[in-house]
Symmetry: D2
Subunit: 367 residues, 4 copies
Amino acid sequence: MLCIAPQDKAGGDLRVGIIGAGRIGRVHLETLASVAGVKPLIISDIVEPVLQDVVATYGLPAYSLNPDDVINHPDVQAVWICSPSQFHADQIKACARAGKHIFCEKPIATDLAGTLEAIQVAKDCGVKLMTAFQRRFDPSFARLQKAVADGEVGRPISAVLQSRDPAPPPFAYVKGGGGLFKDMAIHDLDIARWLMGSCGKNEPVKIYATGACNVDKAILELKDSNPSEAIDTANILIEFESGSTATIQVCRRATYGYDQRVELFGTEGLVKHENVFPNTVEKWNGDAVRRADPMHNFFMTRYADAYKNETKAFCALLKAGGEVSPSGDDGARALEMAMACDLSLRLGRPVLMSEVQLPAGQKRVAA
Amino acid sequence: MLCIAPQDKAGGDLRVGIIGAGRIGRVHLETLASVAGVKPLIISDIVEPVLQDVVATYGLPAYSLNPDDVINHPDVQAVWICSPSQFHADQIKACARAGKHIFCEKPIATDLAGTLEAIQVAKDCGVKLMTAFQRRFDPSFARLQKAVADGEVGRPISAVLQSRDPAPPPFAYVKGGGGLFKDMAIHDLDIARWLMGSCGKNEPVKIYATGACNVDKAILELKDSNPSEAIDTANILIEFESGSTATIQVCRRATYGYDQRVELFGTEGLVKHENVFPNTVEKWNGDAVRRADPMHNFFMTRYADAYKNETKAFCALLKAGGEVSPSGDDGARALEMAMACDLSLRLGRPVLMSEVQLPAGQKRVAA
Amino acid sequence: MLCIAPQDKAGGDLRVGIIGAGRIGRVHLETLASVAGVKPLIISDIVEPVLQDVVATYGLPAYSLNPDDVINHPDVQAVWICSPSQFHADQIKACARAGKHIFCEKPIATDLAGTLEAIQVAKDCGVKLMTAFQRRFDPSFARLQKAVADGEVGRPISAVLQSRDPAPPPFAYVKGGGGLFKDMAIHDLDIARWLMGSCGKNEPVKIYATGACNVDKAILELKDSNPSEAIDTANILIEFESGSTATIQVCRRATYGYDQRVELFGTEGLVKHENVFPNTVEKWNGDAVRRADPMHNFFMTRYADAYKNETKAFCALLKAGGEVSPSGDDGARALEMAMACDLSLRLGRPVLMSEVQLPAGQKRVAA
Amino acid sequence: MLCIAPQDKAGGDLRVGIIGAGRIGRVHLETLASVAGVKPLIISDIVEPVLQDVVATYGLPAYSLNPDDVINHPDVQAVWICSPSQFHADQIKACARAGKHIFCEKPIATDLAGTLEAIQVAKDCGVKLMTAFQRRFDPSFARLQKAVADGEVGRPISAVLQSRDPAPPPFAYVKGGGGLFKDMAIHDLDIARWLMGSCGKNEPVKIYATGACNVDKAILELKDSNPSEAIDTANILIEFESGSTATIQVCRRATYGYDQRVELFGTEGLVKHENVFPNTVEKWNGDAVRRADPMHNFFMTRYADAYKNETKAFCALLKAGGEVSPSGDDGARALEMAMACDLSLRLGRPVLMSEVQLPAGQKRVAA
């Protein structure tokens, strides 16, 4: 395998490219365009008018209908991969071989074999690979994790994560999407592992997942092809090496909005964070004492700051050096946890992480 | 078996007796003394000065050092059993045979055989038997259950119950006490079953319990005699007939006080209740934006209203008729759930409720 | 003037009488009946069936249709005056002359002359007189005041009191009732003065009151007879000796319930207390994130604990000795503040407390 | 007076310039640089390295050490004035005469005469002038105002605004700064007027201001030169045409951070907004149930969104047309209210707005 060495320079602007000018690509571009010392040079997409608009708005010097022009741009040092999931693995590998650092929207690949391979190529080529689990960069999630890492509540004992979408996705998204654990709970699995590992190494060892179809009966027909696609509600209990536990509750529909809460109990106290609302206004009248408005409706508004922060963090890392977090390995680990959930649901019993089948010839990511 | 028929009268005062003048006995007596149409006639205990003080304070006509004098008092119609746990079963049976209705502090008996037998005697004698799970009468628990029963949040999907004591009990209490599930989590098991059954019959079918020793290392030596006594922290996942789940988290110590919270997610929304503080004062200063005072310290203050309400409710029931709730059977069911937790902890896997061993010759309480 | 010396005894039960078996009289009786070491001996009212019911419920030895039988009962040491306002002053004086300590529902009298005279008689006869401003005994008001007195927020700078009733009283109550300041805001005036004086003597010196008719147009016709009766909304700004200020906002109707909040800002921080709800349940659904229930509806439920606490506090004081708080003088001071509000509203400008006209021959209550 | 006509174009980019590259100038520039359809062309400041840094970061085509180069830039259509206060009036007039629309940080001028003159010039030249009271664009203030305007709480009756800085400014800022009302409370005066006028014209008619020196004794020496400079705490009561009232409490130091709250009571309910924290994390331990972090420390973080929103709003207005809000006249009105506060403090009594002295030859801004 041929790898071009990454063009890391002390000082000077960080020159970047973006693949994908969709919703999330534009979010990252806006951030990249506003960070001092960072220069977006080129963006690719398959829709030319979108590219023209984006280039005009943010003053980019170039665009292309071909992602290879981003990957192979001689001045680009790092690439933000915001393309559809099925292209991620190949683009990661191409970037790595071209000596470009990589910020990749989740997932790294659509299966574990592809994930592990892409990660390995990035390692072999010596480029940094960040898996974009943006929640780690949300002010509340990040502050909570810091409290745990700093020992503000002692040693972690148990966590509860509530994670619910405002409405189920279209049937077409669910069907063949890999199921509730892989397409939705994977964020929560990463957060649970991140929190519980905040005070030292502490990997998941056993997972018990239950699931049901409560809010979207259309998906029941997927039961035979993939049971994890036929559920819209799940309860996941994760046991860690230290004996601590994390409970994750996911559902594809909460009538009240996008429910994203964590609480963690430790030997010296408890930390929790609440849902976020668009403002702090309360309204009191004959009907109720209530919030004036519902909580944020979905991830684009709820995690607006997190998206900015993660891109800024990766830029800062590329300039200052250090360990990537969440790394490619973190992405692989979350995927393995989701696979353990799939297996547990199928078997109706807790499964050990070691029961998760690795691709032939692969060995487990070092815990 | 000889039973004297209960002396139920339409109209007139309800005449009651109390066994036990300890902390909880006095709480119930104070309530009984203040309810219009209820007359406490006699109380027993083994400490005469305590009895003298109580009788003087509440103007009771009589006291005795012998509980049989309460049970057999010719004018007493109902007895509040507030004696130590090991006497409950015999006193229930004696009351039942004497035709007295029974309000019994939990537990009904210290084992399932004794529990089922006492319940059966009460049924055979036609007396009402209430198991004093006081949380059902707390304003917040009760309102939450009403919301569920009234369909305010649709069909229940999942619940989380946080239940933590402020500090572990003495070693002597833990040793031989039956373990964390029976002596502490039993309240939560009852609440979980009560909530999930609020929209129609919906019994627990499968329970998975994990446990650890996190805050009280002294108890580790009890591991061999009873693993459930050697843990101070547990996570219980209950699956119900409907597919709904309840997660219970218990711990014998929370540094911040007595943690008693429930949230329930349903197809149309979520209800939750928060911890209770002695006042609503907030203090803002250079250190923190905070509550002026910690949450209630333990059950005697946290559930002060609940204790009153449950005694009032049983009085009202005895005067107006109707089904007892929580009944003796509810007490037995909660005990069976605790036994399922014990078994699950021992086996390291979820167990079916049907795996819980019933006493010889007994059949399961009708679900 | 003939005074019988109060029969204070060290030890033994405190024997009390109650005048008035209405709503508030029964509340105090229930408390008196449940406090160890206190014996209610007699109650009077004008409705015999009510008396019979009360006596049966609480086991009182006697009742009478004549309040003099309470006042002159040879064994009664203290009297709770819960009769209509117009009888208060005469009953206070009669009690004082009979050597009975007095707990008096507000007001002491319907005018300042009567108030000052009744207070003087109580002083002359050496009996204790408590003005029942129950809010001082509410857990949240009391905790807030303690924070101020203990210097938890430094020196008081300014306070805001929100005080709103759920609905206006009947026209008959308003007409001739003395107006918004005397019949409603007087509680808030007392609280403001109490809080601001918590760190040392600090009396009100200047008051500016504005008022409007916003929610009950019927009362506008009272404008000429008494402008303070023709308003249902007021804003009161009180300046104290120390330079600190208190703002009181009262209104006869808040659609959302009984609004009773205080916040106090000091040199080292802020304390505030919130409204009280019947439970802590929140409901989240497609309509709103909201409290499951409205706040307490009115004073009988909102201040249920406060009523108990004030009666217990007076009992404890009578047994242990000490200064009465709130005293008769406190009641007079609050009335003078209400009169300053009346005057300010009439003149459209701030008035000095010294502008409030005292009855002929009276001198100002020592500040 | 010669005015160049504003170069408003349908469609095309809005081309803007910025005077001042200090803290607030950069904030506005960052926003201007990120809004689609807006092009910052030039910025001026007196510090060249700052300009070089800014131009590099945001890709501006030009900078100058002379603000006239911004004002007279042939392609610039609108200017953001972010220079020190003493230059505002002259720059407004110069911009107006050059046909440039104006976004001006408060104040418009340091006195009323200058303010009215600058406004008049802008009107005469037909350019739009926005006074940057950013709080109107904060999500919580804006939502609260919308609730009022939409009648969600009926007709406004009274408002309370709490406005406290975390720490007093340097003595040099206070001395000669115009005093607490003009340099600090002016924002609150604008908000009070804006809210109370949300349901139709409703101007302030009478203002009563009290003040004290509580937290910064150094300023007491300014008492003779300007009493409003010798106070750090004030209470302002504003009476409006409709009879509604607004109470403003300001203080130069709150130990707990930047306190910025409003509550408004109306005939059909109440709306309020709370302080904003950097995250939603709570920490519970043996010390307290508390926020993990203090509230936002000061205006640059508390109003980060508001600064963006106001600049975006003015851009949108310039492209789409419509009335400016807050306008120059709004700025003048707030200044007149602050002058009324000064006068009231001096006189120790409420003053009518009509008592505020206008500059010779000027007539009052139409209410």
